[in-house]
Structure formats: C-alpha cells, structure tokens
Symmetry: C2
Subunit: 433 residues, 2 copies
C-alpha cells in the first residue's frame, strides 16, 4: 500500500536548483581588513521538487560560490531531498579538488568549497523536507531544547556614512558614527533598546588596542552584568593579545581571535585568564586535531555556512561537548533564511554555551522573506513555527535585491579596496598592532 505520505515522498525529487545572487545595503562597518562596502553580496537558492515543494537556502555571495553552485546544479536533478548525505558525496566528487583559500589536503574527505556549497543545499533540502512533512527543521534535528535562541548585540566601529565616490552620493544610515568608547556605548544602547540583547560583542582590530580596551570598559560600566566579547580578527601580536587579555580579565566572557594561527592562539591561551574563541583558526574538521594538540582555543564559533550545513554543525557540537570546548555561533552579513537556519540549529544544540552572533540588525531592512524581518524577543529569536525553516520568499523583494546585485556589477567582497578609496595608504597586513 502506498500511503499519501509515501506518494508525497516519492515526488520529492529535485527538479531544479534556482540560484539567485542578491545584494543589499550594508553600513560602513569597520574591521581589521577595512570597511564594509555599501552593498553586501549574498546568494539565495531554491531547491525545487517535482511535488512542487520548494526549499530555501542562503549563503555567501561572490563569484566563487556562484560558480560552484552552478557547477553542481545539474548534477542534483533527480536526487531526493532526503539524500543529503549522497548529495554531499556528489559535491565532493565534483568540487573536492577545487582550490579555495584555506583548503586542506582533503585527507578527511572534505574541502571548504564542498562545505560552503553543500551548506545552503542541505538547508534547502531540510526546509523542503519539513515543508513536505509538516514539521520544523528543528524537529528534523532532534527537536528544540530551547524555544528561542539568544543572540548578542554585535557592535562595530563605523563611519557615519558611506562617503561619496566616483559621482555616487554619500549614503547615510540611522546608526550614526562609532569611533570611540562613547560612540560604541551609544550604539550598544540603541541595539539593546531595539532588540533586547543580553550579551555584547565588539568587532575590533580597527583602532589601536588601548582605544578598544577603553570601549569594552565603557560597555562594562554602562551595561553591568552583561557578558562582553571582543574580536579583533587576528589583528594583534601575541604580546598585545596577552596584554589586552589581562587588562580585560574582569570584563570578557571570551576573547575571540586576538591573534592569527593555531600556534599563536595557543601561546596567548596559556597566558590569559579567559577562554579564546575562534572562527578563524578552526574553521573545518581538519583543523581540530592540531588545535586540540596545541590547546589553541576554548570556544568554537560554529557557522553552518562554513562547516557544511546543519547536521555537520551538530557533529561539531558533539565534538565541542566531547573535548570540553564551549560553543558559540559566528555570523557574516546575512538575511532571514540564514537567521532561521541558525535559529533552528541553535535550538537543537544542548551545549550552545553562548549567545550567537548575528549581523541581522545591520541588514534586515532589505529582507527578502515574506513578512519582512524576523523579530527578536528579549534578545532571542523564537524558533519560527514552521513547517521547514518557517520562512517563505517574497518574490518581489528577491527580484529587487537581485536587480541591485546585477546593477552593482560587483562579484567580490573587498573591504580593503573600499577603505583605500578613502585612505589610499591603508595596510591591512596582520598583525596590525
């Protein structure tokens, strides 16, 4: 007997993978490499099934990701949305030898290109599974251990506006400038007032460390009791990292990527009182054994876009629990499909030890999902009630942001090149301080 459900499952083969590059406004946020450009690039994918169910995924933008998604597209046609393990193996056979920054020797059978390309496809397949079956993605991951996932206020040093260039006018935003402790505290106040976040992360590496230390101390004074973090993206020497670690011993819950490399991180870790966190020196399963041997870190900032999707992120969570690492979550500029996926994942991880990072407040005003931006409640995002990820595309909004991408002519993110338009002598070589 073929039940209704089985008939539906049998129709859940992939008939198309629609790949839509988009762009959306991004404020001039500073980091150790430069400053965010006026447009952030992103890619939306739709896994279309014979039964008409469509699953959504979102990942980074740029030519590499687009090329790789296009390269695998035709090979997915005819596969089942339930066959994510087999899809990953197929991607490995197509992209496994694709060169990409940070690629390892493939000894454990993966590459960053495979993980990054597989991630939005896996998420879209899980979304389609949930939508077809009437369950949430979190239910496909073992179910929630929390109803809402806490996020942190992700602060950036920033300019008041994108400067006028090449005939383009300056572009302002509602946030104003943040160049000193007072500006950082004001930004935090706005963000906490608006979203209710209960933790604060400061993206650092943009100004001399003393100035950034002062900003953290000002945040601690303005928001007593709120957990604080600072992330200079490897901009500091070992000596600077150790000095900052001691100066902020009372203020930080963790110190994120103060310096580059697993050996450098290990050296700092031995000398500072708080755990070191990373999304730079451990970004793939291959990186873990050496980080364990050296003692480089105490917290992993997971990111399903980087680690190969939601199920591999659960494996990472299992590794963190096993080796005693804390688990937090990294973010790049993103929209609601990614946020929904992060939230379904975060709800299913018992050992999610920290509030997750998200850029969402910086970018959610150009949302492509129906109904507009997802809403935080007291600093947490409730798990969308589903089915699937619980979000649907707004086709007009998607078309609008795709058009913005096309008109931009952009294919890569270049924070350094963009900063150099204003400061031609800017040297992003790390460590900076």
């Amino acid at each position: 007997m073929v039940t209704d459900q089985q008939a539906r499952v049998q129709g859940l083969t992939i008939t198309d993978l629609i790949i839509t590059p988009i762009a959306f406004a991004d404020p001039p946020l500073l980091n150790s490499w430069g400053v965010h450009e006026p447009l952030a690039l992103r890619t939306v994918i739709q896994v279309v099934t014979a039964a008409g169910v469509v699953g959504l995924g979102e990942c980074g933008g740029g030519a590499n990701r687009l090329n790789q998604l296009n390269q695998v597209r035709s090979q997915l046609i005819g596969m089942s949305i339930f066959d994510t393990n087999a899809i990953e193996q197929r991607l490995l056979s197509i992209l496994g030898t694709t060169g990409e920054a940070g690629e390892k020797d493939g000894s454990v059978g993966r590459s960053p290109a495979v993980s990054a390309t597989f991630s939005p496809i896996e998420v879209a397949c899980l979304d389609a599974q949930g939508k077809a079956l009437g369950v949430r993605v979190v239910d496909l991951l073992g179910g929630p251990v929390r109803d809402a996932v806490p996020y942190s206020a992700y602060l950036f040093y920033k300019w008041a506006e994108h400067p006028a260039h090449d005939g383009s006018p300056a572009i302002t935003d509602g946030w104003g400038a943040a160049r000193d402790p007072a500006g950082v505290v004001a930004q935090a106040q706005t963000m906490i007032d608006t979203y209710g976040f209960g933790s604060i992360k400061l993206k650092a590496g943009a100004f001399p460390p003393d100035q950034e230390v002062a900003a953290i101390k000002a945040l601690a004074e303005a928001f007593p009791g709120l957990p604080l973090r600072i992330d200079p993206n490897g901009a500091w020497t070992e000596a600077t990292s150790v000095r900052v670690g001691h100066e902020l011993a009372a203020e930080l819950e963790y110190l994120e990527d103060p310096t580059l490399g697993r050996a450098g991180m290990a050296a700092v870790a031995r000398q500072v009182p708080m755990p070191l966190a990373t999304n730079m020196c451990v970004i793939a399963f291959d990186d873990i054994p050496e980080a364990l041997d050296l003692g480089s870190i105490g917290v992993v900032l997971s990111d399903h876009h980087v680690w190969g999707g939601l199920r591999h992120s659960l494996e990472l969570a299992g590794i963190c629990r096993t080796v005693g690492w804390g688990m937090s979550m990294h973010s790049n500029s993103h929209l609601g499909i990614s946020l929904a996926a992060m939230t379904h994942l975060g709800a299913a991880v018992p050992n999610l030890s920290y509030a997750c990072d998200t850029h969402y407040p910086w970018n959610s005003d150009q949302e492509i999902i129906a109904g507009g931006a997802l809403e935080f409640v007291d600093g947490s995002l409730p798990v969308p009630p589903g089915p699937g990820l619980g979000v649907e595309l707004d086709p007009d909004a998607l078309a609008r942001q795709h058009e913005l991408f096309v008109r931009s002519g952009r294919t890569e993110r270049d924070d350094t090149g963009y900063l150099r338009r204003s400061q031609p002598d800017y040297d992003p070589t790390l460590p900076r301080f």
Copy 2:
C-alpha cells in the same frame, strides 16, 4: 491553516511507553568471561502516540535497564516523538547520577545509564517519526550512502550443546562444536554459505593464544582475501598482545581489544603493525580525549545501544572522521529491531570503514518481528524499505518470548557463573593469557 500533516504531528505525543522484557535461545558461545547461557535477555520498547502510531526500540535485558526504563516511563508521557533532545535531557535529570559500571564523573553531562536508556527510546521515536511521516529512519539521518550495510561473520568458539543441569536436559543447536581451528573454519564456512558474509571476526580469549592464532591462520588459508579480525575482549597481557599482533601481521585488518585499558592498548598500538579496535576502552564520549592523547586505538566499534542512540552515533562518526579513526560496529545478542536500527544508521555513515559485527545469525530463529528474520543478501542487509525502521512487531512472537523471560526467572547475564556450573574453578580474571 493547519494542514493534514500538522494535525498528524500534533497527535504525535507520547501516551505510553510499553516495556517488554524478553528472552530467546542462545547457543553456548564462549568468551573470555565464560559462556553464553541458554537464554539471552533483551528488552523491547514501544513508544505509543496519541495518533496511534507506535515506534519500536530494542536494548539489552536485565534488571538495571528494566528499572531505569520504568523509572523514566511516566516522565515521557505528553512529550512529542520529535523531542528526542529534550527527552535525553529529561533522562539526564532523572538518571544522570545513577551509578552503573563504567560511569564517569558526568562532566560532559552524560552517564552510561542515560545513554543506554535513551537509546531505545530515541530509536523508537525515530521509528514513530518515520512511520507517521512516511519516510525511513535513514532518511531522517541524511539519507543512505549505501543501499545495504555489510556485516561480518561473527565466529565463536562454542560447545556442541548446553549441558544438562539441575534436571534440565541438554540443549543442542544446529551449529555443532567449535573448539579448534578446524571447528572454527567449519563454522565460518556454514555462516558464509548461509549469509554470504565477506569479512570474518573471531571472538577469542577462550583458549590459549597459540590455538586462536592457529584458527586465524586456518581461516586465512580457507578464505583467502577475506578481511579477518580477532577479539579476545582484553584477555591478553601487553606482551601476549604484541606477540599475537606480530604473528598475525599478514592476516588481520584490525586487532580488537587485545588488552585492557587505554594505557595498555596504547602500549600495544605502538608495537603492532595493524590498527587496534575497541568497544571496551572507548565506550563513551568522555573516553575519547584520553584515548586520543595516548594513541590507544585506530578504530571505534560504535554501538548505538551504548553511545546514546542513532544521532549520537552520527556524532561519533564525525569524531572518527575528524581524528582519523576508522569506524566499525559492535554487537551483542540482539533481534531484528536492533538490526534494522543498526542498518539504517550504517547506511547513513559515509565513513563506515568496516563491515559491522552482528550476533544475528546466532539468535534470529526466535524473531519477534513480523515476517521472521531479516535476510542478508551477499553478506549485507538491505536497508528495510520502511517507513520508519521498516519492521513491525509480531505480537504473538513477542508474547511468546516475554513468557520465556518470565518463566526463566532470570534478571542478569552471568556468563561466568554459567560456565562454573561445568568448570567450578574457572577464573575469569583478566588478563588470562
């Protein structure tokens, strides 16, 4: 709008957990502790939902497991079958401090009691999910990377019959005795002829090592090209282990638990040419860090009954892939629900590097699932086509084996005590040789 699917999901709360202890005939199989008793004990659980869907799980027998399942039973009522993460947390709160052999300090939030009790409940919930949604359990784990899972011929030294005791008559079986290399080869021939297995494992530790080495060499000669393994369950000293490792350098794909303890295993591992495998010195996530530090093993024999279910077994697979360990699968005496679960899991693990162990040929003649024993094809078990685990209970058979359990009066497995009825001076202290 509430769809049909959502309505069905809403009915998938647990209304009962039916716990049925069973017993089934087991041949007199020898190991380093003694010999299998005439009856093996096992426990079948049924997770019953409001919607009428019932999910099946199977785990070890004995008073401990029964007591713990009964202890948590009422606490599961009203939870959703999709909430396996939350169910595990609830079990942890109930059983987390339960003493059980091998229990750790709970620093990573688990205990063997929780893992062993959660496992059949998680499997039953996944079975019920699959049955409710019309998908296979393997589909809920990322889908199959192989259509059938290879198993090994699991050979035992054995007596020709269970001897007469206390007025009970002797019990014979169709396998005959295996006490020497010729008997072992004959047993292998029967098992391979019947099931088509392409790998061979010999349970050892029952006779002096030279005799067991001779059996492996006889198997290698009789079945050229078939991968071979030997498992004395820690019966050997370090020196004996190293000597056997060298004598069987050409024959073994891995050497399983030659000696006790992670330190002892590490010492042996440094001196023998083949990887060491274990289901004794790494049986929980807590055990992994020290095994990594020491270099104790090269292969983990996973077992979802021990490691806390199917999803945690996928985490273990991720760890194996990450640290470069091979992955195989351990078995105790079991019936078809367990075999189906092992097969759905094994089909979803890309890095399942070896054919899995199974006792099934020794016990499958008293099957409790409808249709009788699952059938191997060329040494592999095809993934049951589902939905769920793809197996259903035979209520009459379940009642028959439960009655056998009740009449037996047995509550524990005692291989040593049973052997001592025939050899009162038997000393199972390890190492034996």
